[in-house]
Each structure stands twice: as C-alpha cells, then as structure tokens.
C-alpha cells in the first residue's frame, strides 16, 4: 500500500445543500479530505453535523431534496465534477465502493429470499451471472462474515434472522464484490455490544486483509479512535479538525474536539487511556 500514491478518495471544498419547504439548509460546508488506499478514516460528529451527508454525496445516493452545490469529488484518481447529484456512478456502487448502512433491521428487502437478493446484486454488475455462480459467491461471502450454515440461510428471508445476523449479511453484501473502498455509516446502531464488536472487527479485518480503505462515519469517538488511523471531526457541516487519532486525542486543537473528548472521558473514565494506547498502532492493524 503506497502511502504517497494518488488518493483513493478525495473531496475538495465539497458542499451540499438541502432544500425543504422553500428553506435551504447547508448540510456540508466546503469539506476537504483525502483517503489513501488501505487507509481507515473516521468522520466523527454529532447528529446533524453533516457526516452522513458526506458519505451519501460520495456514493451518489443523496435524497432528491439534497444537492451538491460546489466542490470536486475524486475517486480512484478520476475527478468527478460535482453535478447536482454528484457521487460515483451506479456501476461503481456495490462493486468498487461498498456501503454499510446503520439500520440492520430495515436494510434488506423483506419480501425476497437472501439468495435472490444476492443474485440481484450480482446481476446488477455482471449481467450474465448464473444462479450457481451467485449462490457460490454468496455462500462464500456469508461464511466470510462468520455466518454458520450459509447455504441454508440463503433460502431464508430477513425477518427470520436476528439483528446481528442481518447486519452481517449487509456487510457481506457490501463487501462481497471486493470493493476498494467501504463506507460505513453508523454501522453498529441498534446492535448490542457484542454484535457491535463483531461488525467492527469484520470491517477492520476485511480492510486489512484485502487492503481496502474504510471510511467510518460515526458519532462514537472511542469506536472511531479504536478502528481508524485518522480522524476528521465535523460540526455543523464544517471540518473542525483533522489528523491522526494519536495527535487529535492527545492534542486537540479545536474547542469542539476538546468538548467531545471530554464528554467521552466523563462517561468512560479511564478508558481513554486504553484508547490512546491502542490507536498508536491503529494504522498497522
């Protein structure tokens, strides 16, 4: 993994506005960042900070009310002029860029069997894929996320699975076509602690095993600190601070970052020490 090659993903002065009921709200205000291949970047901020919008802008799945008003997105060395919709093309989604959403209970189609959903996802990128091909890939993907008896699970429908299992299926779907970048938007919401760890470990493992970049969007600062090498702190649509996990935690420059760290420390006294330690070799994990 070259540390000084062209960035895998980059945003320069990206701005996104929402328009509802005649009122325009700036959700993302001139955000700039780069992500190198194999790197793990965490975007941290509270609700409404615009971090999820950044992720969706990159993916190109902004809601109709949102528009990219300025800025340039660069994916894999190619600049994408920020069109109103912005973001990567449909072909790239699911194949070169995977997305893990935050709601394990709602992400999968409730009517179709898992196998059908995998097959549709495959056929979106390889039109001639046969059922057997799809099933084989799917079984491997499900096993890869630690699900037992994948062949049988494939015949089931989402409501027959637990929340943790569903989220693992979602991770499988997001990563099974070997994307070079995975964007995870609050991937552990609604999951119990054990499942949270499992999912995050899966994401980290996948990233390190296959040299995949990870863009983690979360409000959970300790989690971002543990699993990422660099952090981007956002507030009210703007990037407030950026740097390695180490430097941010030990020497926060912005007032808001300090507040964040402080409030976390209040909740989990003592844990911050461990977090700081483990983040020292975060890049190597």
């Amino acid at each position: 993994m070259s540390a000084d090659g062209p960035g895998l993903l980059g945003a320069e002065a990206l701005s996104v506005e929402y328009t509802t009921g005649g009122v325009r709200v700036v959700a993302v205000d001139r955000v700039t960042f780069t992500l190198k291949p194999g790197e793990r970047l965490g975007i941290v901020g509270e609700s409404g900070s615009g971090k999820s919008t950044v992720a969706r802008a990159v993916l190109g799945t902004l809601p109709p009310a949102a528009q990219v008003t300025s800025g340039v997105l660069q994916v894999g060395g190619r600049s994408i002029e920020a069109t109103a919709r912005g973001g990567v093309s449909r072909d790239a989604r699911g194949a070169e860029i995977g997305f893990v959403p935050q709601n394990p209970f709602g992400a999968l189609n409730p009517i179709l069997t898992l196998e059908k959903q995998f097959r549709n996802a495959l056929r979106a990128h390889r039109r001639r894929a046969t059922r057997a091909e799809a099933r084989e890939l799917a079984v491997r993907a499900m096993a890869g996320v630690g699900l037992a008896k994948p062949a049988m699970l494939l015949r089931a429908r989402p409501h027959e699975l637990s929340g943790g299992m569903k989220q693992r299926v979602v991770v499988a779907l997001a990563t099974w076509l070997s994307p070079s970048l995975v964007i995870a938007d609050e991937p552990t919401t609604g999951l119990d602690l054990i499942n949270q760890r499992l999912i995050m470990d899966l994401l980290r493992k996948g990233a390190s095993d296959e040299g995949r970049s990870l863009l983690l969007v979360t409000h959970d600062l300790p989690m971002a600190a543990e699993y990422c090498a660099r952090l981007l702190v956002m507030r009210a649509g703007r990037v407030v601070e950026e740097g390695s996990v180490n430097s941010i935690l030990s020497n926060p420059k912005h007032e808001y970052t300090r507040q964040l760290i402080h409030s976390v420390a209040m909740l989990e006294s003592g844990r911050l020490e461990d977090g700081t330690e483990s983040s020292m070799d975060g890049a190597a994990r």
Binding site: T61, G98, G106, A107, I111, A121, A124, L147, A148, K149
Partner: protein
C-alpha cells in the same frame, strides 16, 4: 449466552422448520384462513336478515303482481297461503331460512323462473366484465403510479396525473356511450351494442356461465374473437373509470416505500433504477391489492349501467330491472348473492395479500 450460540440456535430453528417441510409456513396460513372463515356465519346471518327485511320495507303485493289485478279474492288468499305470506313475520323469517338452506332462492314474480336459475344464468357474464376490468384498471393505474414515481415532475408524470384526473371524473357509463359512438357508429371498428355476441349468433352450451370460456370449451375458437371484441368496449369503459383508484392508492404507498431503508440500501448496491423501483413495489403492493376488494362492490353498480347500454344481459342489468319492477324475490336473491360474493372477494384478496408478504404469515406464529 454468546452471540454465536444464539445464532446457532436460530439457524437450528430454521433448519428444523425447513426439515418439517416448511410446516411453520403452512400452519400460519391455515390458521389465518380458519380465522377468516369464522367470520362467515355472522356475516351470512346479517345478510339473510337484511335480505328478508327488504320485504318489510318495499311495498309489495305479490299476489296482485303475479295473478293480475283481476284475480279473485280466493285466488289471492290461496296464493298468499302457499307462499306463507299470511303467517306472522317471525314464522316467515324462519321459513325463509328453511328455503335458503334447501337452496331455494324463491321464484321471480316476473319471469316465473327460479331466482337461482336467473342468477346462475347471468352471473358469469357480469363476472367476466368485472374481473377483466379490474385487471386492466390495476395494470393501468399501477403503471401510471410506477411511471410517475420513477420520473417525478416530468412529462410522463404530469400526463399520468391528468389521465388520472380525467378517469376520476368520467363515470364509466358516459365513457361507454362516447366510445360506442366513436368506435362503433362513427368508425365502425367496434361491434354495435348487441350484447355479448352478434344478434344472430348462437350461444354455446352454458358450462361456466362465462361466455369466453364456454366458447373455448365448445371448441368454437373462431368465434372467440367476436366474443372478445364485444367485451372490449364495456371493459375499457369500466377499467378507465377505475384506474384512478389504483393510481391514487399506489402512488403514496410507492413513494413511502421508495424512501424506506431497504430501497436506499438497494441503490447503494448498484441495482438499476428499474430494479430499485421493483423493490419498492414489492413493499407497496400489499395494501394496493388488499384495497381492491372495496372496488368490487362499487363496480357492480357501474357495471349494471354499462350492461344496460350494451344489452349485456348480465346480473347488474337484471338487478336494476328487478328493482324497478319491485320483483322482491329477485331483489332478495341478488342481495344475498352480491353480498356473499363481496365477502368472498374480500376474503380472497386478504388471503392473497398475506401470501405475498411473508412477514405477515410468520407473525401469526
């Protein structure tokens, strides 16, 4: 209990249910069916009672009607005695139930034929119209909603909305007349309103009551085209009048579904917009199908007028003339049959809706 063992337990449970031949699935559906059937007896009782009360409400002097004004007092008295019309009301009520349970729906005052026969003779014709129109209206209405959701605000959406508004404002019978004038009298591409067949044609032996099917069963395929062309105008008029219903029900359900998490996720997987729309439709279709039952009763009314215009000789047309002539047994028979049919339709649609949404099936267990 760790996550692994919990999940192992869940997978085991899935395995068991699969091994049992999907027993869970079947039990859920059967239970739903049984529960629905339980509602049948009370509904029937209400229906029968209502039908019986019609005699109390509508003015009638059946003896005079059937025997004529010149009939003697004794003839009238004998007639009334035979029909049990001189008994107290409660007795008549039980006699009515008795006759019904024997399958006797009464005899028409006007034709003298058993009401059951009259209905059986005509029901197929009306069903053919209604079912065909429902399917066509469903296809058109849902199609307009799908297109409008896919291309919101564009020309396709706006013209679709206009069609829906027009559909809502033209009653089927008016459209029927206009189509008749344009396509039949003016341009001659549609047959004249001579009923289900050309005037001189011979009807095939009645097996199902649905002319198209009976034609096929009799092997007269060459005439099938004529039967279908006679159906074209009334079915189109009826369907066009009701596509608005489907469009207006589907659109909001579809838009809600398109905003759901599962559709968003499908987009991030790189699925085509068409496929994404399909995913939305899968979620939205259940209420649409369930609501179509409401249409059935309404359509019976609209069909009746169309049958009159096209000389269809169907159940609706017969019902109207029975009402106008105060043919009580026929009216009673119609109320019973229409009410039961509507109940069956609701039931069937409910069943289909449950079958289409696997979540509901399992929730029962």
């Amino acid at each position: 209990m760790t996550v692994e063992s919990a999940e192992a337990g869940q997978t085991d449970a899935l395995e068991t249910s699969e091994a049992a031949g999907g027993g869970w699935k079947r039990r859920g559906v059967l239970r739903a069916v049984a529960l629905r059937l339980l509602a049948l007896p009370p509904t029937l009782i209400v229906l029968v009672t209502f039908s019986f009360l019609i005699t109390a409400v509508l003015p009638s002097n059946p003896a005079r009607v059937v025997l004529g004004d010149m009939a003697s007092g004794e003839a009238v008295a004998e007639f009334n005695h035979e029909l049990g019309l001189d008994q107290p009301v409660i007795e008549q009520y039980f006699m009515y139930w008795g006759r019904l349970l024997r399958g006797d729906l009464g005899t028409s005052f006007y034709s003298g034929l058993p009401v059951g026969d009259e209905i059986a003779h005509r029901a197929g014709s009306t069903l053919a119209l209604i079912v065909s129109a429902l399917i066509l209206a469903f296809a058109m209405g849902v199609g307009i909603a799908l297109v409008g959701t896919r291309f919101p605000g564009r020309f396709a959406d706006r013209s679709g909305s206009f069609v829906v508004s027009v559909s809502q404002s033209i009653p089927p019978f008016v459209l029927g007349i206009v189509l008749l004038y344009l396509l039949s009298y003016q341009f001659g591409i549609a047959p004249p309103p001579s009923g289900q067949q050309p005037l001189a044609a011979e009807t095939p032996p009645q097996v199902t009551g649905v002319l198209a099917i009976d034609m096929v069963l009799a092997g007269r395929f060459s005439e099938l085209g004529s039967v279908l062309s006679h159906m074209a105008l009334p079915v189109t008029a009826l369907a066009f009048g009701y596509l608005a219903f489907f469009a207006r029900i589907t659109r909001p359900a579809l838009e809600t579904a398109m905003a759901s998490d599962q559709v968003q996720f499908a987009r991030t997987l790189g699925l085509s917009e068409a496929r994404v729309l399909h995913y939305g439709w899968l979620e939205a279709r259940v209420p649409v199908i369930a609501y179509s039952g409401q249409l059935f009763a309404e359509m019976l009314g609209a069909t009746a007028i169309l049958e009159t215009i096209f000389s269809w000789n169907g159940l609706g047309q017969w019902a109207i003339t029975s009402i106008l002539k105060l043919d009580i047994p026929s009216i009673q028979g119609f109320v019973l049959v229409a009410g039961t049919a509507t109940f069956v339709v609701f039931f069937a649609l409910d069943f289909i809706a449950k079958a289409l949404d696997p979540r509901i099936r399992y929730d029962r267990n």
